[in-house]
């Protein structure tokens, strides 16, 4: 465990790091081997399907896995807390893809010529060829697996909260593994790794093996079922062997982590020999078993394999018979239906529709050079790539010194530009929003959104009737001043249109009740007010002759 005491002798729990677990080189090496070996199965498939030269993939996968393991280990350190963002991962990914592109050019396709560069300038997507995409997916798979397994094994280390719980005696002396709660127990983490490793290995083997096999029936009776397969290439075999052996050793490491955590939290002292001998013992045992297994007769020539072949053949035959019987039953069930469709069978075949030739698309006429779009695209891509690459190198401390100072200045310059652009954009957005808010029309304004009076509640209907009456009166030259109450303005209306005195009065009272009375207004009352409102509008219209609009509104 790392010394986490400050100068005053106080324990700094947040800086705790399970050093003996994290600093080991053995485990990262195993994880890298395991992760790189994952690509072996799909690689065998790619070799079977394509004629690409893929000898560089396994070493490159190992390199990528080592990078993933290393960066994950670094990010697990307390002093790397500020470098755990997604940007760094993106930078790593871009670096990996750049290296892949270079590797493909170097080891497989050769360096691109000027014609190809010109093609990429016009069609940037052409750089993403099939080999780049396929191998890129494999490398990302290996890289992601390395990160995931390393993160899992980092989780298996003694965590700062466990250290704090162990060192703090305020929770009484009873040291229980439950004192420091974990979202996922170490046992679950190891079980998850085992499950992934086991079933991943099964798929890997099946994938690699199926890429080299072809189906065949054997025996004169046809009872013996087998698939003939050619042997796998040596590098694939070595990779698969690395996958399983390193997985077994990592399983042993996981077991050690589970026990170690349990012993630590229960306050059990562990003799140093236990941890020292663990790695060596597990390696020796696996090597011993591997050696003994190499001396055993291989299964395909043994009686068990022969018997199993016969059993499988029998099962296949039984399956065929069952399928034939089911097909017969199905056919027998459908047999009567053929009489239903006999007439349709005798119909004349439909006349072929006349074919219309599609006119050729008109060529867009442009005066810009064809390479301009590609050039802009590549400029942006290169800028982003350069930024991510510099971020990656800086995060790993590879830009220290003079170059580091320049990089830092560049970052500050870019941060200042970006902050200025962001502020300008924010200001423009605010201004636009303010202008839009000012221009928002009133619902009763002429250009406002239409109101469906029938869907309004009774109180809102009445308010609408009154306000629309005021609006109409304003159009007729009598607008309500803001200082006048509805009752006062009702007198003005009565003075202007004395015939509608009763209607204006009733409408005003209904409005006051709808606006200020808390009692619920029934729908019948709204309908009655609506009749009054129509009469009031009619009275207002008499002088204007605007009849068509009122009818339309009614």
């Amino acid at each position: 465990m790392e010394d986490t005491t400050d100068q005053a002798g106080n324990t700094r729990y947040q800086d705790f790091l399970d050093d003996s677990w994290v600093r080991s080189l053995f485990r990262p090496l195993l994880i890298s081997l395991l992760s790189a070996s994952v690509v072996a199965g799909p690689l065998a498939g790619l070799r079977a399907l394509t004629s690409w030269r893929l000898g560089y993939v396994l070493p490159l996968a190992l390199l990528v896995a080592v990078e993933g393991v290393y960066s994950t280990l670094q990010r697990g350190r307390p002093q790397w807390r500020d470098r755990r963002g997604l940007m760094l991962r993106l930078a790593e990914l871009v670096t990996i893809l750049l290296i892949l592109r270079l590797a493909i050019w170097t080891f497989s396709t050769g360096l691109p010529g000027t014609d190809q560069v010109a093609l990429w300038l016009v069609h940037p997507e052409a750089i993403l060829d099939a080999q780049f995409l396929a191998v890129g997916v494999l490398l990302i798979l290996a890289w992601g697996l390395a990160i995931g397994i390393t993160a899992d094994f980092l989780e298996l280390a003694i965590q700062p909260d466990e250290f704090a719980a162990y060192e703090t005696h305020s929770w009484d002396e009873s040291r229980s593994h439950q004192r420091a709660s974990r979202a996922k127990s170490r046992l679950e983490t190891v079980a998850q790794f085992t499950w992934r490793w086991g079933w991943g290995g099964g798929l890997l083997v099946a994938c690699a093996a199926l890429s080299r096999t072809s189906f065949a029936l054997e025996g004169s009776s046809g009872l013996k079922f087998a698939i003939t397969g050619a042997n796998l290439p040596p590098d694939i075999v070595v990779a698969l062997l690395c996958y399983f052996i390193s997985g077994l050793i990592l399983l042993s490491e996981g077991r050690l982590a589970v026990l170690r955590g349990r012993w630590y939290n229960q306050g059990i002292s562990v003799m140093p020999g236990v941890l020292k001998r663990w790695h060596l013992s597990s390696v020796l045992i696996i090597l011993l078993v591997a050696l003994v297994a190499a001396l055993l007769p291989l299964g395909r020539t043994g009686p068990l394999a022969t018997a199993l072949e016969y059993v499988l053949g029998l099962m296949v035959r039984v399956g065929q018979v069952v399928m034939a019987f089911v097909f017969f039953l199905f056919t027998a069930l459908l047999w009567p239906l053929r009489f239903l469709f006999r007439s349709s069978d005798q119909q004349q075949p439909a006349q072929a529709l006349p074919r219309f030739e599609m006119p050729p698309p008109q060529q867009a006429v442009t005066h810009l050079p064809p390479w301009l779009g590609g050039a802009i695209y590549w400029t942006l891509i290169l800028a982003v790539l350069a930024y991510l690459l510099l971020s990656y190198l800086n995060a790993h401390g590879l830009l220290a010194g003079l170059r580091g100072g320049r990089w830092l200045r560049l970052r500050f310059w870019w941060s200042a530009r970006w902050a200025r652009v962001s502020a300008s954009a924010r200001k423009a957005t605010e201004g636009l929003r303010k202008r839009l808010r000012l221009r928002r029309p009133s619902p009763l304004a002429p250009g406002g959104p239409p109101i469906h009076v029938g869907s309004l509640p009774p109180a809102a209907k009445i308010r609408y009737f009154y306000l629309s009456t005021l609006q109409r009166a304003a159009q007729r030259g009598l607008a309500r001043p803001p200082y006048k109450t509805p009752l006062e303005f009702g007198q003005d209306l009565t003075g202007q249109w004395p015939d509608a005195e009763v209607d204006f009065k009733e409408l005003t009272e209904a409005f006051l009740a709808a606006r200020y009375d808390r009692r619920t207004i029934p729908a019948d009352r709204a309908r009655a007010v609506q009749r009054v409102w129509r009469r009031a509008l009619r009275s207002l219209r008499r002088n204007t002759g605007d009849k068509g609009e009122d009818q339309a509104r009614d």
Binding site: V237, I268, V270, I285
Partner: protein
Amino acid sequence: MNDMTLLFVILLVIAILLRLDFVFYLVYVGVGTYALARWWTARNLPHLNVRRIYTDHAFLGQTVPVSIEIENASWWPIPWLRIDETLSSNLSTGSPLRQVLSLRPREKTSLHYEIVGRQRGFYDLGPALLTTGDLFGFAEAQGRVARPDHLTVYPRVIPLAKVDLKSRSPYGTVKSQERIFADPARVSGKRDYQPGDPLHDIDWKSSAHGARLQVKKYDPAVSLTTVIFLDLNKPEYGTQLSYQASEWGIEIAASLANYLITQRQSVGLASNGSDPLTGAQQWVIPARGGRVHLMKLLEWLARVQLADTSPFSEWLPRAAMDLAWGTTVIVIHPSGDDATCRTLHGLVRAGLNPILIVTEPQYQFGVLRERARRLGFPAHLMTDERDLKRWKVTR
């Protein structure tokens, strides 16, 4: 592990179907590792020899170092072995021994810890729980050390200077106030001859030297052959003070036995308490002298426990039936009730010399003492150490 088994089966099927030697090899390695781990784990514990090395008797407050010697008798290493030692809280000095270690083939190692006897008793050491497993998590095995180990912590012995014990047995080694028990081996001086003095008491050398007949003067002495009867029948103790009073009675018995053995007297011990080692509910150890006998008495006193056994007044006459005439019978009883007093009176009439010691506080002990005096035996109230130390010869 069901997943692993299923995986191996699927790999085997793939290997057979595809006829790939390499996949067969993988299956062999996987199954071999799994089988080896299980077989290995299962044989670890039977090949372990575990024993404790310690002194199995200790005095109160003494620290006893304990070593657990673990030997791997197998030719296979043990990758990890966890030992959880369990101890009584009366012995523990802190957190119990919990250790994880690994053993090479034929390796022997020792673990050390210390215990302190804080309370007299007969304690089990362990059982030590052993847990081992393989390196891959395929198997785990648990066991415990089969052989039981015990530690006897002697009761506290309070040193006594001089205790007022009387005896009717003549010719002992303890100086007596009774002149009738003059001991010819204890010459205290000389005096002039008087008619009637036995001739064998004349000191001829002194007579010749002084030209007058001189007779030897002897100190009186008695034999204090003593048997301590300790009542540990639980119903006869008070509910609240039963533990304290019984433990105090045991300490009195141990202190008196130590005193009497130091005085070169024979001491026996009898009790109706339970002995967890032998299972005896009523037992009598005949009176003998010597340090070895004292250690035997202390060991029984260390083990004896308060238990529901037969009533003291019924058991005492039977237990005292074989005692010689004049034997001092020290009865340690919580209350000295009527039945006990009647029984002690019977012992007086049988020629024995009973002494009653009451260990629980009594409000009217004066009445009891007077009654005992009338019945012919002394009674003493000893509820703590001061009472015991005050029990001296006053004359």
